[in-house]
């Protein structure tokens, strides 16, 4: 039990790392990773939705009729996304302004729906929470890593919280602005995928 629990948790951190191994949920990955702060904020919001929706879907898996399961999943996910949106407006307004439309778009993020459909609807609540937490943390770390690469090259800084850089290259650094634009996101993601694929999968 404990062993399989750990397995469900850690698979999200490496073998099924959402953006790089499964290459899923790329819309927020490309759009919000202009800084580490944005990436991690988006990741935490997604993790919250993933864990809550996985728990609820798994608790209700025997009650939800198979024919309307997708509709039920969407209702559950949308509820948690709206809660995240309201909480973010109340307690992290600047982050809410930066992430904007991508918070409500978590509803249609295929990672969240995918975990409900493929995992939580077939497994117990504890396993489902472990799965959601693993995938969510993996997603957060991936967004943070891509955000770090893009922010470092594109702006010469690394920002973790409230727009205050924890690291800065100083005013002499000539930023590679391209990395902050949309094409830079594709290039950054592509290079990271390339580097990850150099490491052989077991």
């Amino acid at each position: 039990m404990a062993q399989s629990l750990a397995k469900e948790f850690t698979k999200g951190l490496w073998t099924e790392l959402p953006p790089f191994r499964l290459v899923l949920g790329l819309c927020p990955v490309l759009a919000v990773t202009k800084s580490v702060e944005n990436g991690i904020g988006m990741g935490v919001a997604t993790t919250f939705v993933l864990v809550c929706s996985n728990l609820l879907v798994s608790l209700l898996r025997n009650i939800i009729p198979a024919k309307v399961r997708i509709a039920c999943f969407i209702v559950i996910i949308a509820t948690f996304v709206t809660i995240v949106e309201l909480l973010m407006q109340a307690y992290a307004y600047p982050l809410f302004l930066k992430l904007g439309i991508f918070i409500p778009l978590i509803v249609v993020n295929c990672i969240v729906l995918g975990r409900s459909e493929a995992f939580a609807s077939k497994n117990g609540p504890i396993m489902s929470v472990a799965d959601g937490l693993g995938i969510g943390i993996g997603f957060t770390l991936s967004l943070g890593a891509l955000g770090a690469v893009r922010e470092f090259l594109g702006n010469g800084t690394l920002t973790i919280w409230e727009g205050l850089p924890v690291f800065s290259m100083g005013p002499d650094f000539l930023p590679f602005r391209f990395m902050l634009e949309a094409p830079g996101a594709f290039v950054g993601l592509g290079l990271m995928l390339f580097l990850m694929n150099l490491i052989p999968q077991k």
Partner: protein, 194 residues
């Protein structure tokens, strides 16, 4: 038949619970969200309209309550000694309500400046009136008593931002609303400003 009933029942119960939960969270966070909007949307707009006033319009704000509405008013005094107020009205844009902060000189009844505030418009398209200040500069100096703030196409005097017609229209609707509100509440505003 049984299957159909169970589908209907499950979906109905689920949506009812979701709706109830969301209503609870919304009413729980409403106050805090208002504080945040004041700090991050209204305060920067007011600061950019009144760059060098001596008082703090945010701290001096007061609320006027009438039967239909609640209006937050930010009072200040201009360099030439005349009194001015700023208040926010809303129009409906592409992604929901769009806020417009309107500043009016009470002595001359002229618009000092306006700013777009909270909105949910499409980034890069509907947000143009917020970034490009040409659109809002059109309001400066117009009389709030007798100007038609609608877009030129609707018989007014304001040019829309190309590509952001719906948002421009929302802001103009907000300005027309501001005109109505100001005309109706001006005596009340002056009374409360002392």
């Amino acid at each position: 038949m049984r299957e159909m009933i169970s589908m209907i029942v499950v979906l109905t119960v689920l949506t009812v619970i979701s709706g109830g939960l969301l209503a609870a969270v919304k009413s729980g966070t409403e106050e805090q969200i208002e504080i945040q909007v004041l700090k991050f949307q209204k305060a920067p707009a007011i600061e950019s309209i009144f760059p060098d006033v001596t008082n703090d319009p945010i701290a001096d704000r007061f609320t006027i309550k009438t039967e239909e509405m609640k209006l937050q008013v930010f009072p200040t005094k201009l360099a030439d000694g005349s009194k001015a107020v700023a208040f926010e009205t809303k129009g409906t844009g592409f992604g929901g309500p769009v806020g417009l902060m309107v500043a009016v000189n009470i002595n001359s009844d002229k618009v000092i400046d306006v700013r777009m505030t909270a909105h949910a418009e499409t980034p890069g398209i509907g947000t143009k009136p917020k970034e490009d200040l040409f659109f809002v500069s059109q309001f400066t100096g117009l009389s709030i008593m007798d100007t038609d703030f609608n877009l030129k196409g609707s018989g007014g005097v304001i040019d829309a931002v190309s590509g952001a017609t719906v948002t421009s229209n929302a802001l103009c609707t907000a300005a027309v609303k501001a005109k109505e509100v100001y005309q109706k509440l001006k005596p009340e505003i002056i009374k409360q400003m002392k």
